[in-house]
Symmetry: C2
Subunit: 412 residues, 2 copies
């Protein structure tokens, strides 16, 4: 982990993608991140994909480098404990991330009575407080409608939970912005983010709302074409599919030059009476452009042109499955300093990513694996909640908290 | 804009989605964000979608609330000017975002000679410095391979540039993390982020790399199904398509109850010898579950069940195009305090989103429109570069800088 945020302590009560991702990114930047869960595990404890053992690779991926405490939150003692941990003193503490939306004892109003400068970032489904997930927000806002082959009738949802991932990153930046504000003004605050608002704002930022309001034509499906300029997938003689980009003037002229299609493009321009240097014209004439380029790719294997494309600075890539990418792309393995091979008990051995941002002031360190559920219960009760050994033992005996070690020790 | 970051000054030299988005988010949180461009406009000045006037809705969306200066960066004076602006003094300044990758005068090494505690966040294509865009990174890592209908052979790319959007948000959090570090240690630094690394790390965080390494079966296409549990699209009697979620135990039991399909689900469980309370079993039996639920939706119009679904807390949504969403969904218009109707010269009138995060310490304010290219050239030369009126006039006269106002004044 890079240690840019060393000293910061964040408490996280969460499930699924966005907020766990936020806490994990903070942990990978060096913050101490405490995730609390129910004794039986959170709603996401068994989320797919699973390892051959049946344990969740998803959970392990999104909780790397955190500390885990397992608490019975239905008991008043459990609620008091979480309150103590969330509101524990410390200049760089009092930072709480959640999407659990538990009313009453876990409200900002209640929690901030114990620490007036508490910062709490809450992710909701929509601004009305209704549950929404990536899979419902995305169809509601039109992305699946414009995704898929041109001749396909139905909407197509992406396999990537993009809004969750974007929202998770916004949780990080909102927390850091609010903490910056607290440092200057001494004030804590509540930050509320709705997943649906993140998506609605983003399609607005990209110009899609203006487009829908001002233009008659609906933006339809365009297969794997790059929208608004030129970019297309082609099948090569070896059967591999490549994506090739002609977005900027340089990319476009480079592509035409290296494929030797300049004369045909000129003829297309003449025939259509339009200037292909205009990216919108390339978009309008994309099918004709593709017809010109397709035979070039169909006649060649990827190996025939890969080096010359790279040397000429063509922006392109090969379509792969994740399995193929892991096998063939060195950027997805140890050759990339972002990845480390980790042996994780109950999961297996595979490349695990650290922080994608590289901070020059601190060397990148290896990603830490996810904890076992409740692995740090005793440590957190002592160091953060500041309970005595006797108090801690009582909580274990009453079943208010749990840890794998304590359970094992009692049984021995 | 919320004013959480009031006082911070960020300089941005960028094009396309990620870094412009980062600057815009900072501006919407209250930072002063100065975007510099070539006199003829950046590479993204004409990016689609366009307004009926031909002006870019995309550019307007991603540069809201920024200040714009237009500079001839090929001239030494222009380069010196940008250097002065990027490295201008001020405790909350010296923050620079870029994806332009100009070698030499715009390197961190060179710029930090003029301000030792400069923070510069650079977004690259891949870690080797090769150009990559969302449209090439996504196919290379396998997402289009697992997107699309189950019986569709080819990869399907989403219409959403998700990696750009995620990387843009990481640029924001990396900047804030580095600034926090500078405040504590007095040190600036360079932060490097590669778009492809962001994507590679993210699929790792989601467990996809572990899945690809450890499991024999490749994660294939699953249409619009929610991966790993239950969630499916259905066509209703009115022709509308809805998405319905049965991910958590509560969502699943609610869905079964409200559709009155409990007995059939029990029979399915018996027949298959598997327990539908296990989310992975619901995933394995998703086609059988869908066969049970489909007639229920086919016999009903959305209006028949919408209220009861909402009251029962079912997680669901209606598939829409962006046009339909803008027309029918109040969350995409002025009923949502995140949006304001703005009249923008050369563009038109449509709902414009502000910051998706709501900070309780500062009331949300209206989004500010994007500037004209070079709109703030004079102001920035005076207030930030600290040039005299004479010096400013000379720069205009030599064509080193430009602004719409100055040009108009000279012509008058």
């Amino acid at each position: 982990m890079t240690r840019i945020l060393k000293g910061m302590r964040v408490v996280e009560g969460s499930a699924f993608v966005a907020v766990p991702l936020a806490g994990m990114q903070l942990a990978q930047m060096g913050a101490e991140v405490i995730r609390f869960d129910r004794i039986e595990g959170g709603l996401d404890a068994g989320r797919w994909p699973l390892a051959p053992s049946g344990r969740s690779l998803f959970w392990a991926g999104l909780n790397k480098g955190k500390k885990s405490i397992a608490v019975n939150m239905r008991s008043p003692e459990g609620q008091e404990l979480i309150t103590r941990i969330v509101t524990a003193p410390g200049e760089d503490a009092g930072l709480f991330l959640t999407n659990l939306r538990v009313r009453g004892w876990m409200d900002y109003e209640t929690l901030s009575q114990y620490r007036r400068d508490l910062i709490m970032v809450t992710l909701m489904g929509d601004r009305h407080g209704r549950p929404q997930v990536d899979y419902t927000v995305n169809p509601a806002l039109g992305i699946p409608d414009m995704t898929g082959p041109e001749d396909h009738d139905a909407p197509v949802a992406s396999a990537l939970p993009a809004w969750d991932l974007i929202a998770g990153n916004m949780v990080v930046s909102s927390l850091l912005a609010a903490e910056r504000y607290r440092l200057r003004h001494g004030e804590g605050q509540e930050v509320e983010i709705a997943l649906k608002d993140v998506a609605a704002a983003t399609i607005g930022h990209l110009g899609m709302i203006g487009d829908a309001v001002l233009n008659d034509e609906e933006r339809g499906k365009a297969g794997n074409s790059l929208y608004g300029a030129y970019g297309q997938d082609f099948i090569c003689a070896c059967g591999q599919r490549v994506m090739v980009i002609g977005l900027t003037a340089r990319q476009w002229s480079g592509l035409v030059k290296i494929t030797g299609t300049g004369r045909q493009m000129e003829m297309l321009a003449k025939r259509s009476g339009r200037d292909l240097r205009d990216e919108g014209v390339r978009w309008a004439l994309r099918h004709e452009i593709t017809d010109i380029l397709a035979p070039w790719f169909a006649a060649r294997r990827v190996g025939d042109f890969a080096d010359s494309f790279d040397k000429a600075g063509v922006t392109w890539s090969i379509f792969r499955s994740v399995k193929e990418a892991v096998r063939h792309d060195p950027d997805l393995g140890e050759a990339n300093p972002m990845f480390s091979m980790l042996d994780q008990p109950g999961l297996g051995r595979f490349p695990v990513p650290g922080c994608a941002a590289e901070f020059s002031a601190r060397a990148r360190t290896k990603p830490a694996p996810a904890p076992d559920l409740g692995e740090h219960t005793e440590e957190i009760l002592g160091d953060v909640a500041r309970l005595s050994d006797t108090e801690i033992s009582q909580l274990f005996d009453k079943g208010v908290v749990e840890s794998p070690r304590y359970t094992a020790r009692s049984a021995a």
